[in-house]
Amino acid sequence: PPGPRKSFPVAAVDEILRDVLGSSLREQRYEAERCREMVKDIAEVIKARVKELMVPRYKVVVVTHIGQLNEQSMQIGSRCLWDPASDTFSSYVFKNSSLFALAVVYAVYFE
């Protein structure tokens, strides 16, 4: 059965996530208003850089979270109904002393 001619470059996306989260947040302290804006900007920047990889016939969903590091507990999970032969994801968690950030990129083949 026909599948994607070019497979999705997960390693390149891992690198994009590490680069964008690290450079945007390294010195950032948690502040509600600033983080509310940054979480959107980061999602847009990641999407733009993944698009630059120009992988044909792939749709891309980027989800970002930024949260304050207190003593609270949390769990973030996801499930996908898709075709594991062609679809994939990449994720990265960033932490400093004040906040944490999670970015996930889902790549879905347009069959």
Binding site: V60, R79, C80, W82
Partner: protein, 107 residues
């Protein structure tokens, strides 16, 4: 042409969250199975709608301690057929955010 019905998805997800978290207090030992159950049940119900979509469902459950959490998404897709909805829910001890992304395929 198919369009994503966000209200329909919203209702489906809200019921799934209610049935799993409704009467519970935040419990670190259970939260893993709760998030798994919420996403799996949501997916099962979405699939029953019988539409030609691939789905991505994400769920975050957090203990209510006053800490802030922000989430955003950015999608590169076909805006005429594909769509997303976000459901926010809370009770006395926890917050829950579920995102559904529906990506159309050609059959």
């Amino acid at each position: 042409q198919m369009i994503f019905n966000a209200d329909e998805a919203h209702n489906i997800v809200k019921e799934c969250i209610e049935s799993i978290l409704g009467k519970a207090d935040y419990n670190h030992n259970k939260v893993n199975q709760w998030t798994a159950a919420i996403v799996e049940q949501s997916l099962t119900h979405l699939v029953k709608l019988g539409k030609t979509y691939k789905y991505i469902v994400t769920c975050a459950v957090m203990q209510r301690s006053g800490a802030g959490l922000h989430t955003a998404n950015s999608c590169f897709w076909d805006t005429t057929t594909d769509g997303t909805c976000t459901v926010r829910w809370e009770n006395r001890t926890m917050n829950c955010i579920v995102n559904v992304f529906a990506v159309a395929i050609l059959l």
